[in-house]
Subunit: 329 residues, 2 copies
DNA sequence: CTGTTAGCGCGTTCAA
DNA sequence: TTGAACGCGCTAACAG
């Protein structure tokens, strides 16, 4: 590994001069710049990020804290979208991100987690899929020791921003469309996890619609589980003329239940994951752009790091109908 | 951030002494160890990895180079398994990994990529899903500038190991089981990408079985695409009494084709991704343990980093029957 | 067994 | 406009 010193010697200038042209300082003559650039090129010099970081103390990595939940969500399209969105934006913004799985931090006490992050020079992080049960992380956020962005959870303070889809509106929108399309009057709504962040918002949306359209709505909690959604649909599906689910996976469960008990009910989902196509049936769903959401999260982290105060930010959503033929190309 | 110096002062010892207890050097009396530990504890000292790395020059991060192919494989269970397997093992081995998407490196020339890795202090990397077309990476591997482990591709040299499932045997095994179960004589084999690494191995397996059992085998290339597999099955499915596919996704395509043209043919897949369950039908498939494969890859990287020469290593596989009820719990 | 010292590669004053 | 010199936080000889 060639160092800055070698470049300096080769170019016949001082180390500091090389450093200056590397970092685009003013007050360097064009001629010396040329010399230095030439040396850099011919020596194939690559600056050592580690050393630069140590020296400048400007080093901040952001942790992407994701919840790979192999139990309840085997197919993790969403997380991958999150990760790749964040990484691309990070590259654009020239900051370093490291991905961290919840499972790696499992069982650690708050101070252990803090130390872990510190030792890794991680002073900012983005939480994806934080739930009300993740108390350690709540504490972490509240102590405001790190700059945080929380996706889909209501945390905002001086050092914390949150990034959301408007869940209430989205749920309202998609259900409304389904209701209109099928002229439904009687809805089975399979919500997520009782008392969950997004679950509550989505519930608001469906309730709003029910009031507006004077619908009958039966509400059950499916805990985002396919199986539970399936069982709920088995039990109450008959009585409804439309099944609205708070997630795509639950929608799959509900659809399969309908098939099993041999009834047809339109089902609509939430998320817009591609998986929906694989079930081979057409389904209306909210399309969240997870890639973009994650990019926005990184932007927010940058703002926080540059001294802005935390805030809440909404990312737009769409509605789509997904079906097999759409995705097999 | 409290530094080692503050700890030293607080404990009334020299900096180097603190360093020694931090790194578990011998030749430190128990009493001073105690003093230092106490100071560390009370000051909440967290060592600065960056500085340690710079100083010791023992710094090597390993890049996990993954191919998030949103086009052909929307549902990326496999990659997530790879990543989490590698990260867990990395934590165990106390090395740092950074995940890198192919797409981030896209269009870069070899030397740009080299510089990118160098600037990130990445001197070792694991390639997942490398294909014959990724020439830049082949060059990268062949120049032996980095320690590499390649998963599912035949690269071995002084500084490169490969980690494999025995694709030939696996394909042989799964097809044999299917053939026996259904007493099939006439197979439609939907292979992967013509001239691909794993494709060729799997082809070997099926050919071997055909010889042994005196089967008739029609071979088509589905390019790992659902759509192509679907079309192939539409065209040739009727004539076969068993469809064997070189990937789960293609198996799904084939199954859907059978449904569409209203024939029943047993289909078997390859991979064992959970997604298979979602199609709602039972299917025999090879179960690759991607998590474990990735762990093995990290182990191999460690060996390379510690001076061992590259080698090829096989990871065992299993056969499973996946169906809906298995995974919705 | 402990402390002193010299770097690691780079950023950044401050003189010159 | 340039360069010498110091320091970032830590490791690793080497003395004592």
């Amino acid at each position: 590994m060639v160092t800055i010193k070698e470049v300096a010697d080769y170019a016949g200038v001082a180390i500091s001069t090389v450093s200056k042209v590397l970092n685009n300082y003013p007050n360097v003559s064009e001629t010396t710049k040329k010399k230095v650039r030439k040396a850099i090129d011919e020596l194939h010099y690559v600056p050592n990020t580690i050393a630069a970081a140590l020296s400048s103390k400007q080093y901040a990595r952001v942790g992407l804290v994701v919840n790979l939940n192999t139990q309840t969500q085997a197919i993790d399209e969403i997380t991958m979208q999150y990760l790749s969105g964040a990484m691309n934006k990070a590259r654009e913004k020239n900051i370093e991100v490291v991905t961290i799985f919840y499972s790696m931090l499992e069982g650690m006490k708050l101070d252990e987690i803090v130390r872990y992050f510190q030792s890794q020079s991680i002073f900012a992080m983005i939480f994806y899929g934080l739930s009300k049960e993740d108390e350690v992380f709540h504490q972490l956020i509240n102590m405001q020791m790190f700059k945080c962005v929380v996706v889909d959870a209501p945390f905002v303070n001086e050092n914390t921003s949150s990034v959301w889809v408007d869940n209430a509106k989205a749920q309202y929108d998609v259900a409304k469309r389904a209701v209109i399309d099928d002229n439904s009057k009687n809805i089975l709504y399979i919500a997520g996890k009782k008392n969950g962040y997004v679950t509550d918002c989505r519930l608001e949306g469906i309730k709003e619609l029910a009031r507006e359209k004077d619908l009958k709505v039966k509400i059950c909690y499916g805990d985002f589980s396919e199986l539970k959604a399936r069982n709920i649909a088995m039990e109450y599906g008959r009585e409804a003329d439309l099944i609205v689910c708070a997630s795509d996976l639950m929608a799959i469960g509900a659809m399969n239940a309908c098939i099993d008990i041999d009834i047809f009910r339109p089902v609509c989902g939430f998320d817009g994951i591609t998986l929906m196509g694989y079930v081979g049936k057409q389904m209306l769903t909210v399309k969240q752009n997870f890639y973009r959401i994650s990019q926005v999260a990184v932007e927010e982290i940058c703002l926080l790091l540059s001294g802005e105060k935390g805030r809440s930010r909404i990312v737009e959503h769409r509605l789509v109908k997904l079906y097999y033929q759409d995705i097999i190309c």
